[in-house]
Structure formats: structure tokens, C-alpha cells
């Protein structure tokens, strides 16, 4: 069946929503990994059956799950059930799919081992969780992982083992990175479809970075950002970037939802300009680009950094068909009274059908879908645990 699969990560498990291409009738499957926080789940673009999941618990730490059949069965790569590798010394099987160890070797330039803490002191980098998994655009066994404390890891063996791309954390600004309220997290990874060595990442609260050499070296790309909440509002790093999105046919144009401000770059992030325009508030978390219209973008304005819910009790997606500045409210099918949910940064996604399907999940447990570019919306499911992430796959 040709159709769409929506991977939903929640505070208490993962859910898989599937439909045919009409996107009218949905099947809800789950919870998978019940009781665990699922920060993110994403499928390989070259093998839709291959799905990677970040499963986490403050009790028991990080788990990486993988499916090779579209979520019917799961296993932890590198552990029992997946031809476990054997330690050559002990002879014991190795369970390394959840082993994320920061690289402090001299071979990678001895990256800095501390970053700024809430009280201004230096604090050791400590792994907490994987926020985002970004499968390679060409190889289902290669996946990038953005983690807290902020770092970028990569597996090239299907999730058996992970290795840090330490050049990012070794950037000379690293000691000045500091956590936002949600932690020091690398939450956004975008691979340039036209040049896989060019990768964009975003960190709260350090800002955006770009590599042009496959992750060996990185440069901050925050020129033009203005953040009143840091001592130098135009500093090279320290900005709380919430999300970046691109259209695959136009990877030099980036759209950003910052802590405040919606921004746009047309030179690969080298410079940014504000395109908040007539939005009722330009605070928010996710941003997405229509898969068929590179200048059509979506945000969900949130009241403020102090009030993390939609304004006026009304859930409205805002769409710009002009790449920013001119925005229209999309509310058909969405609650327009007594609604006080938030939409987190990884909780909005688009499919690649025509017309474009747009999907988002709320902290109230609803997952909304539009099969008409956002003109109208329906709730696929209403009472899930708080939604952390939504990813659409064409299958």
C-alpha cells in the first residue's frame, strides 16, 4: 500500500500512524516502548522500512532501537537478537548501541571537556540523551545523532556503535556554550541533499553551525541573529535556535524559528534576516517547509517564552507562501477556544505528496494532519501522552 507513515514520539512511548495516500483514514499502532520517553524516531529516506528510535529514561538512560520492517519488530543493534559482536578480550557480547562517549583523544584535537554551566562556572560534558536522529540520505546504516550535552555522533554500522564528530564540540567557542532551560542539546541536523558533506546543526543555547567537510570542522552561522536575552545580543554564539528547516531543492535557503524571531538565510546560513512579519507572536518551536513549494513555510506561534502555550486559547498554524513576512492563520479544524498546548521543536513534519501533507503533535497528546497544504486539519488521534516528535514518511 502506498501511503504515509507518521512516527510519533511521546513522553510514554512511540506510536505509528499509517494511512493510504488519501490521508483520510488512519490506523494507530502503539505504544511501542511503553513508559519510556521517545525523543525522536525517524526512517531512512533510502529504506523506509529502516527506522531508528531514541528511547530514554531518567532512570535507565539511553536506548537505541531499530526496525528493519517499518516498525513491526524492533531490536537494539549491537545487543542480543542482532548477531551481537563479541569483545575480543573477554569473549562477551558487546552491547554498544547505547554507548555515547565523548571523544577526548588527541587524534581529534582534544576537544574541550567543559562548557559553561548555569552559574557561570565550567561544567564537564555529560551525556544525557539523544534528542534527534538524522538518517543519511544515501546509506541506511549511517545515522547522525544530536545529543545532550551538545554533541554530534554518527554510526556507520546501522547503530551498533556510535562515534563523536568531535570537531563541532572542539570549536573554540565550546567553552562558552551554555544550556537553556531544557538542557544543552543538539536538536537539529540537516544534511544538504546536493552535498552530503555540508551539514547544518543547531544547539540550544549556542546557535547554528555548519560543516562543509563532512563534520571535521565547523563554523558558527549566526550572523544577523539578535537575542536580547544574552549579554551581547549579536554575539557569534549563545543564541537559542529552536529549529531550522530547508527545502531539498533549495538548500542554500534556510528558515529558522528562534527563541524569539523567525529568520531566513539565502546564503547557507552565513547571514540571516528576520521574516516574522505580521505573526501575532514570533516565539515558537517548530518550523517546516512545504515539500512542493520551497517558499511556503509553517510555524506555530506560542504566546511567549514565559507562557508556553498558543495565544488566546486558539491553536493556529501560520503559513507564509512568500518565504516569510506575510503570514496567514490556518485554523480550520483546529480548536479555537480553551486550548493551551505547546508544539515542541521536533513535533512538526511534512510528507512529499501533492498536495503536501502537514502534521504536528501537541503537548496535549493530539496529532493533527492536513492533507491540503494546511488549509484544513483533522486530529488523527487525541489522547496520547505529550508529543515530543513527529516525523512523516512516504511508504
Amino acid at each position: 500500500m502506498a501511503g504515509v507513515r507518521i512516527l510519533v514520539g511521546t513522553r510514554k512511548g512511540a506510536f505509528i500512524l499509517t494511512s493510504d495516500n488519501k490521508r483520510k483514514n488512519w490506523k494507530v499502532d502503539g505504544p511501542h516502548f511503553a513508559g519510556w520517553e521517545i525523543y525522536h524516531a525517524k526512517g531512512s529516506p533510502v529504506d523506509p522500512g529502516r527506522i531508528y528510535v531514541s528511547q530514554n529514561s531518567s532512570w535507565f538512560g539511553q536506548i537505541i532501537q531499530r526496525s528493519d520492517n517499518g516498525g513491526i519488530t524492533w531490536h537494539q543493534p549491537g545487543s542480543a537478537g542482532d548477531s551481537p559482536r563479541v569483545d575480543p578480550i573477554s569473549g562477551l557480547p558487546m552491547g554498544e548501541s547505547n554507548k555515547f562517549v565523548y571523544d577526548t583523544s588527541s587524534a581529534t584535537g582534544k576537544p574541550l571537556t567543559t562548557h559553561q554551566w548555569y552559574d557561570g562556572t565550567q561544567h564537564p560534558w555529560e551525556f544525557a540523551r539523544v534528542w534527534h536522529l538524522e538518517p543519511s540520505l544515501s546509506d541506511p546504516d549511517t545515522v547522525y545523532a544530536g545529543v545532550e550535552d551538545a554533541g554530534l555522533f554518527r554510526t556507520t554500522d546501522g547503530g551498533h556503535t556510535w562515534h563523536e564528530l568531535a570537531g563541532l564540540r572542539g570549536h573554540q567557542s565550546g567553552a562558552g556554550w551554555q544550556p537553556g532551560a531544557g538542557g544543552l542539546c543538539l536538536h537539529t541536523i540537516i544534511i544538504d541533499p546536493t552535498n552530503h558533506d555540508r551539514i547544518f546543526v543547531a544547539i540550544s543555547a549556542a546557535g547554528s553551525f555548519r560543516t562543509d567537510d563532512g563534520g571535521q570542522t565547523w563554523k558558527p552561522i549566526n550572523q544577523g541573529l539578535h537575542s536580547q536575552y544574552i549579554p551581547d545580543p549579536t554575539a557569534e554564539v549563545g543564541h537559542c535556535v529552536h529549529r531550522i528547516a530547508i527545502h531539498p531543492t533549495n538548500p542554500n535557503t534556510l528558515f529558522m524559528q528562534k527563541h524569539w524571531d523567525v529568520m531566513r538565510s539565502d546564503d547557507g546560513g552565513d547571514t540571516w534576516r528576520e521574516v516574522s512579519g505580521n505573526l501575532p507572536t514570533d516565539f515558537g518551536f517548530p518550523i517546516a517547509v512545504n515539500s512542493n513549494e520551497p517558499e511556503t513555510i509553517y510555524v506555530v506561534p506560542i504566546t511567549s517564552d514565559s507562557l508556553h502555550y498558543v495565544p488566546e486559547g486558539k491553536l493556529r498554524v501560520y503559513r507564509s507562501r512568500t518565504g516569510g513576512n506575510d503570514w496567514e492563520a490556518l485554523s480550520k479544524g483546529l480548536p479555537q477556544e480553551n486550548c493551551y498546548v505547546n508544539i515542541l521543536r521536533d513535533a512538526m513534519s511534512v510528507d512529499t505528496l501533492d498536495p503536501c501533507g502537514v502534521y504536528f503533535g501537541t503537548t496535549g497528546g493530539q496529532v493533527y494532519a492536513s492533507a491540503d497544504n494546511g488549509d484544513s486539519w483533522t486530529a488523527i488521534v487525541r489522547d496520547l501522552p505529550p508529543v515530543l516528535s513527529v516525523e512523516a514518511q512516504n511508504i
Binding site: 511503553a34 513508559g35 519510556w36 529514561s57 531518567s58 532512570w59 535507565f60 538512560g61 539511553q62 536506548i63 537494539q76 549491537g78 545487543s79 542480543a80 537478537g81 551481537p84 573477554s90 562477551l92 557480547p93 558487546m94 552491547g95 554498544e96 547505547n98 554507548k99 562517549v101
Partner: protein
């Protein structure tokens, strides 16, 4: 054989129901029990103690013979009732409120 009682989520990860039984090197300690547990169930590595430092995760507790031995040395010898399997070694997730 040493009996180990795992919390619900780790039972799920390890695909076991109830207690697991392990052959453990002597002397029987927290460390030797966890070594044997992780060798038998490698998917549990990193969930109870850190991969590199072997430090216990903060919200995991260890009970033995009705005693909280969480803060004892991992190399302390555990009571005979644990080594003999008369009572289970318990891995417990800390209680949360709310």
C-alpha cells in the same frame, strides 16, 4: 545460582519475566552480579551503570536481604542468602512522585 529481580522496564528490555538466575563469580558482590547480568543480557549495559566508569546511575537502587546496599562499595561481599539464591538481589528504580 544468584537470583536477580529487575524493574519492569529492564525486564522488558531483556525480554524476561520475573526474576533471572545467574551464575556469578565468587565472591558475590554488586560488581560480580552486574558483570554476570550484563554478560547474559548485553542490552542492559548502560542502563544500570555507566558504560565507561561503571558508576551506578543516580536513580537506580540495590537491595539485598532487606537492606539498602546502594551506597556500599560495589566490591563488598553480599550476604550468604544472596550468594546461595535464598533471597534475590534487587535492582530497583527509584520511586518518583507526581
Amino acid at each position: 545460582m544468584v537470583r536477580v529481580q529487575l524493574p519492569h522496564h529492564l525486564q522488558t528490555l531483556a525480554s524476561v519475566n520475573g526474576e533471572v538466575t545467574l551464575t556469578v563469580d565468587t565472591p558475590v558482590t554488586q560488581k560480580t552480579i552486574l558483570d554476570a547480568l550484563e554478560a547474559r543480557y548485553p542490552m542492559l549495559r548502560g542502563t544500570i551503570r555507566d558504560h565507561l566508569t561503571a558508576k551506578r546511575r543516580p536513580k537506580v537502587r540495590f537491595f539485598a536481604n532487606e537492606e539498602d546496599v546502594t551506597h556500599d562499595s560495589p566490591d563488598d561481599v553480599l550476604p550468604d542468602v544472596i550468594a546461595s539464591g535464598a533471597k534475590p538481589f534487587m535492582v530497583v528504580g527509584a520511586i518518583s512522585g507526581g
